[in-house]
Amino acid sequence: MRKRGRKRPVRNFRMTASSFDYDERRHQPVEMEMYFNINRAARTIAEIRRIRSELEQKGRKHFHYWIHKHLNVRLDRAVRVNFEKEQRAKRQVQQVYASVRRLMMRRIDRRWVAEELPSGKMKFAKKRKKHGRR
Protein backbone atom coordinates (compact mmCIF):
# COMPACT_ATOMS: atom_id res chain seq x y z
CA MET A 1 0.00 0.00 0.00
CA ARG A 2 1.21 3.49 -0.82
CA LYS A 3 2.26 5.42 2.23
CA ARG A 4 0.51 8.75 2.58
CA GLY A 5 2.68 11.74 3.49
CA ARG A 6 2.03 13.40 6.81
CA LYS A 7 -0.32 16.34 6.51
CA ARG A 8 1.25 19.72 7.08
CA PRO A 9 -0.15 21.52 10.12
CA VAL A 10 -2.27 24.57 9.39
CA ARG A 11 -0.98 27.63 11.20
CA ASN A 12 -2.52 30.98 11.88
CA PHE A 13 -0.44 33.80 10.35
CA ARG A 14 -0.96 37.28 11.79
CA MET A 15 0.65 40.24 10.11
CA THR A 16 0.46 43.95 10.91
CA ALA A 17 1.17 46.57 8.26
CA SER A 18 1.38 50.19 9.33
CA SER A 19 2.46 53.60 8.16
CA PHE A 20 2.48 57.19 9.34
CA ASP A 21 0.99 60.26 7.75
CA TYR A 22 0.26 63.80 8.81
CA ASP A 23 -3.26 65.22 8.60
CA GLU A 24 -2.58 68.79 7.45
CA ARG A 25 -6.20 69.84 7.89
CA ARG A 26 -6.46 68.73 11.53
CA HIS A 27 -2.76 69.14 12.31
CA GLN A 28 -2.55 65.63 13.71
CA PRO A 29 -0.13 62.77 13.15
CA VAL A 30 -2.00 59.72 11.94
CA GLU A 31 -1.01 56.08 11.88
CA MET A 32 -2.85 53.63 9.67
CA GLU A 33 -2.75 49.98 10.71
CA MET A 34 -3.99 46.88 8.96
CA TYR A 35 -4.12 43.48 10.62
CA PHE A 36 -4.05 40.48 8.31
CA ASN A 37 -5.09 37.06 9.51
CA ILE A 38 -4.96 33.82 7.52
CA ASN A 39 -4.64 30.09 8.10
CA ARG A 40 -2.07 28.37 5.87
CA ALA A 41 -0.30 25.01 5.99
CA ALA A 42 3.37 25.18 6.97
CA ARG A 43 5.60 22.64 8.65
CA THR A 44 9.15 23.95 8.51
CA ILE A 45 10.67 27.34 9.25
CA ALA A 46 11.44 27.68 5.53
CA GLU A 47 7.76 27.22 4.72
CA ILE A 48 6.77 29.77 7.36
CA ARG A 49 9.31 32.22 5.89
CA ARG A 50 7.92 31.66 2.37
CA ILE A 51 4.32 32.29 3.44
CA ARG A 52 5.38 35.32 5.47
CA SER A 53 7.19 36.81 2.51
CA GLU A 54 4.25 36.18 0.16
CA LEU A 55 1.84 37.68 2.68
CA GLU A 56 4.11 40.69 3.12
CA GLN A 57 4.30 41.30 -0.62
CA LYS A 58 0.52 41.07 -1.10
CA GLY A 59 -0.20 42.93 2.13
CA ARG A 60 1.97 45.93 1.15
CA LYS A 61 0.22 46.17 -2.20
CA HIS A 62 -3.19 45.91 -0.56
CA PHE A 63 -2.23 48.52 2.05
CA HIS A 64 -1.25 51.14 -0.57
CA TYR A 65 -4.22 50.34 -2.80
CA TRP A 66 -6.84 50.46 -0.02
CA ILE A 67 -5.56 53.68 1.55
CA HIS A 68 -5.43 55.41 -1.79
CA LYS A 69 -8.90 54.19 -2.79
CA HIS A 70 -10.77 54.81 0.47
CA LEU A 71 -8.87 57.60 2.19
CA ASN A 72 -7.43 59.24 -0.91
CA VAL A 73 -3.97 59.28 0.64
CA ARG A 74 -0.83 58.54 -1.32
CA LEU A 75 1.74 57.30 1.15
CA ASP A 76 5.28 58.61 0.74
CA ARG A 77 6.55 56.97 3.89
CA ALA A 78 7.58 53.35 4.13
CA VAL A 79 5.10 50.69 5.18
CA ARG A 80 6.30 48.70 8.18
CA VAL A 81 5.36 45.04 8.21
CA ASN A 82 5.62 42.79 11.25
CA PHE A 83 4.55 39.27 12.12
CA GLU A 84 3.39 37.69 15.32
CA LYS A 85 4.34 34.19 16.31
CA GLU A 86 2.37 31.60 14.33
CA GLN A 87 -0.09 29.53 16.32
CA ARG A 88 -1.71 26.26 15.39
CA ALA A 89 -5.04 27.10 13.73
CA LYS A 90 -8.20 26.03 15.55
CA ARG A 91 -9.66 24.61 12.34
CA GLN A 92 -7.08 22.70 10.29
CA VAL A 93 -8.35 24.13 7.01
CA GLN A 94 -6.36 26.40 4.70
CA GLN A 95 -7.87 29.75 3.77
CA VAL A 96 -7.76 31.44 0.39
CA TYR A 97 -8.61 34.90 1.69
CA ALA A 98 -6.91 36.77 4.52
CA SER A 99 -9.22 38.72 6.79
CA VAL A 100 -8.17 42.34 7.18
CA ARG A 101 -9.07 44.67 10.03
CA ARG A 102 -8.13 48.30 9.82
CA LEU A 103 -7.57 50.98 12.41
CA MET A 104 -6.59 54.58 12.14
CA MET A 105 -4.76 56.04 15.11
CA ARG A 106 -4.87 59.77 15.71
CA ARG A 107 -2.67 61.60 18.15
CA ILE A 108 -5.07 63.74 20.22
CA ASP A 109 -3.92 65.50 23.41
CA ARG A 110 -0.72 63.46 23.50
CA ARG A 111 -2.61 60.16 23.42
CA TRP A 112 -3.37 57.77 20.61
CA VAL A 113 -7.06 57.46 19.79
CA ALA A 114 -8.15 54.62 17.55
CA GLU A 115 -10.83 54.92 14.93
CA GLU A 116 -12.11 51.78 13.27
CA LEU A 117 -12.14 51.65 9.48
CA PRO A 118 -14.19 49.13 7.49
CA SER A 119 -12.81 45.62 7.67
CA GLY A 120 -12.57 43.30 4.70
CA LYS A 121 -10.53 40.58 3.08
CA MET A 122 -7.59 40.15 0.74
CA LYS A 123 -7.14 37.37 -1.78
CA PHE A 124 -4.03 35.37 -0.92
CA ALA A 125 -4.06 32.20 -2.99
CA LYS A 126 -5.86 30.67 -5.91
CA LYS A 127 -8.68 28.25 -5.10
CA ARG A 128 -7.80 24.61 -5.79
CA LYS A 129 -9.94 23.06 -8.48
CA LYS A 130 -11.86 20.06 -7.22
CA HIS A 131 -11.49 17.96 -10.36
CA GLY A 132 -8.12 19.01 -11.66
CA ARG A 133 -7.53 20.83 -14.95
CA ARG A 134 -10.38 21.12 -17.41
Binding site: R14, T16, Y35, N37, I45, I48, R49, R52, N82, F83, E84, K85, E86, R101, L103, M105, R111, W112, V113, A114, E115, E116
Partner: protein, 109 residues
Protein backbone atom coordinates in the same frame (compact mmCIF):
# COMPACT_ATOMS: atom_id res chain seq x y z
CA UNK B 1 -20.76 51.12 18.27
CA UNK B 2 -17.34 49.58 17.94
CA UNK B 3 -16.30 50.56 21.47
CA UNK B 4 -19.14 48.55 23.01
CA UNK B 5 -17.79 45.28 21.70
CA UNK B 6 -16.47 43.27 24.64
CA UNK B 7 -12.95 41.91 24.51
CA UNK B 8 -12.34 38.44 25.97
CA UNK B 9 -10.26 38.27 29.14
CA UNK B 10 -6.71 37.04 28.83
CA UNK B 11 -4.48 34.69 30.81
CA UNK B 12 -1.25 35.80 29.11
CA UNK B 13 0.64 39.04 29.63
CA UNK B 14 3.07 39.97 26.85
CA UNK B 15 5.80 42.43 27.66
CA UNK B 16 8.37 44.05 25.40
CA UNK B 17 11.48 44.87 27.44
CA UNK B 18 13.69 47.14 25.35
CA UNK B 19 16.92 46.63 27.27
CA UNK B 20 19.50 43.86 27.53
CA UNK B 21 20.62 43.17 31.08
CA UNK B 22 22.63 40.63 33.07
CA UNK B 23 21.06 37.29 33.92
CA UNK B 24 21.03 38.14 37.61
CA UNK B 25 18.88 41.22 36.90
CA UNK B 26 16.42 39.02 35.05
CA UNK B 27 16.16 36.82 38.15
CA UNK B 28 15.26 39.96 40.14
CA UNK B 29 12.79 40.89 37.43
CA UNK B 30 11.05 37.51 37.71
CA UNK B 31 10.80 37.95 41.47
CA UNK B 32 9.39 41.46 41.02
CA UNK B 33 6.79 40.11 38.54
CA UNK B 34 5.59 37.58 41.15
CA UNK B 35 5.32 40.29 43.81
CA UNK B 36 3.39 42.72 41.60
CA UNK B 37 0.98 39.97 40.54
CA UNK B 38 0.50 38.85 44.14
CA UNK B 39 -0.54 42.38 45.11
CA UNK B 40 -3.38 42.05 42.57
CA UNK B 41 -4.41 38.58 43.79
CA UNK B 42 -2.81 36.87 40.81
CA UNK B 43 -0.10 34.29 40.35
CA UNK B 44 2.22 33.53 37.46
CA UNK B 45 2.05 29.88 36.41
CA UNK B 46 5.06 30.41 34.14
CA UNK B 47 7.29 33.28 33.04
CA UNK B 48 8.96 32.87 29.66
CA UNK B 49 11.73 35.25 28.62
CA UNK B 50 13.02 35.15 25.02
CA UNK B 51 15.43 37.50 23.25
CA UNK B 52 13.63 39.98 20.99
CA UNK B 53 14.54 40.77 17.36
CA UNK B 54 16.46 44.00 17.88
CA UNK B 55 17.41 44.27 21.50
CA UNK B 56 16.06 43.28 24.86
CA UNK B 57 13.55 40.58 25.64
CA UNK B 58 10.00 39.47 25.09
CA UNK B 59 8.39 38.29 28.30
CA UNK B 60 5.30 36.08 28.36
CA UNK B 61 3.60 35.64 31.71
CA UNK B 62 1.00 32.91 32.01
CA UNK B 63 -1.49 33.81 34.73
CA UNK B 64 -3.46 31.48 36.98
CA UNK B 65 -6.74 33.22 36.10
CA UNK B 66 -7.97 35.44 33.29
CA UNK B 67 -7.99 39.23 33.67
CA UNK B 68 -9.88 41.87 31.65
CA UNK B 69 -7.98 43.48 28.78
CA UNK B 70 -7.68 46.89 30.48
CA UNK B 71 -6.22 45.28 33.62
CA UNK B 72 -3.83 43.19 31.53
CA UNK B 73 -2.59 46.32 29.74
CA UNK B 74 -2.17 48.15 33.04
CA UNK B 75 -0.23 45.20 34.51
CA UNK B 76 1.98 45.18 31.42
CA UNK B 77 2.78 48.85 32.01
CA UNK B 78 3.65 48.13 35.65
CA UNK B 79 5.89 45.27 34.52
CA UNK B 80 7.95 47.62 32.32
CA UNK B 81 6.35 47.13 28.93
CA UNK B 82 7.31 49.60 26.20
CA UNK B 83 5.29 52.78 26.91
CA UNK B 84 4.40 53.48 23.30
CA UNK B 85 3.09 49.94 22.99
CA UNK B 86 0.94 50.37 26.10
CA UNK B 87 -0.63 53.52 24.66
CA UNK B 88 -1.35 51.81 21.33
CA UNK B 89 -2.82 48.81 23.18
CA UNK B 90 -5.07 51.12 25.20
CA UNK B 91 -6.38 52.74 22.02
CA UNK B 92 -7.01 49.31 20.42
CA UNK B 93 -8.86 48.06 23.52
CA UNK B 94 -11.06 51.16 23.51
CA UNK B 95 -12.45 50.34 20.07
CA UNK B 96 -13.01 46.69 21.00
CA UNK B 97 -10.15 45.15 19.03
CA UNK B 98 -9.83 41.62 20.43
CA UNK B 99 -6.24 41.08 19.21
CA UNK B 100 -4.99 44.21 20.92
CA UNK B 101 -1.80 42.70 22.33
CA UNK B 102 0.74 42.60 19.52
CA UNK B 103 4.22 41.19 19.97
CA UNK B 104 6.25 40.66 16.81
CA UNK B 105 8.66 37.75 16.38
CA UNK B 106 10.93 36.22 13.79
CA UNK B 107 10.05 32.68 12.64
CA UNK B 108 11.61 29.87 14.66
CA UNK B 109 11.98 31.82 17.89
Amino acid sequence: MAGDRSIPSTKVLMIDLDITVDGSWLRHYRRMVQRVLESYGLKANAIRVTPSRNRGYHVRIYLNKPVPAETANMLQLLLLDDHGRVDFNRARIKVGFAEWDKLFEDPGR
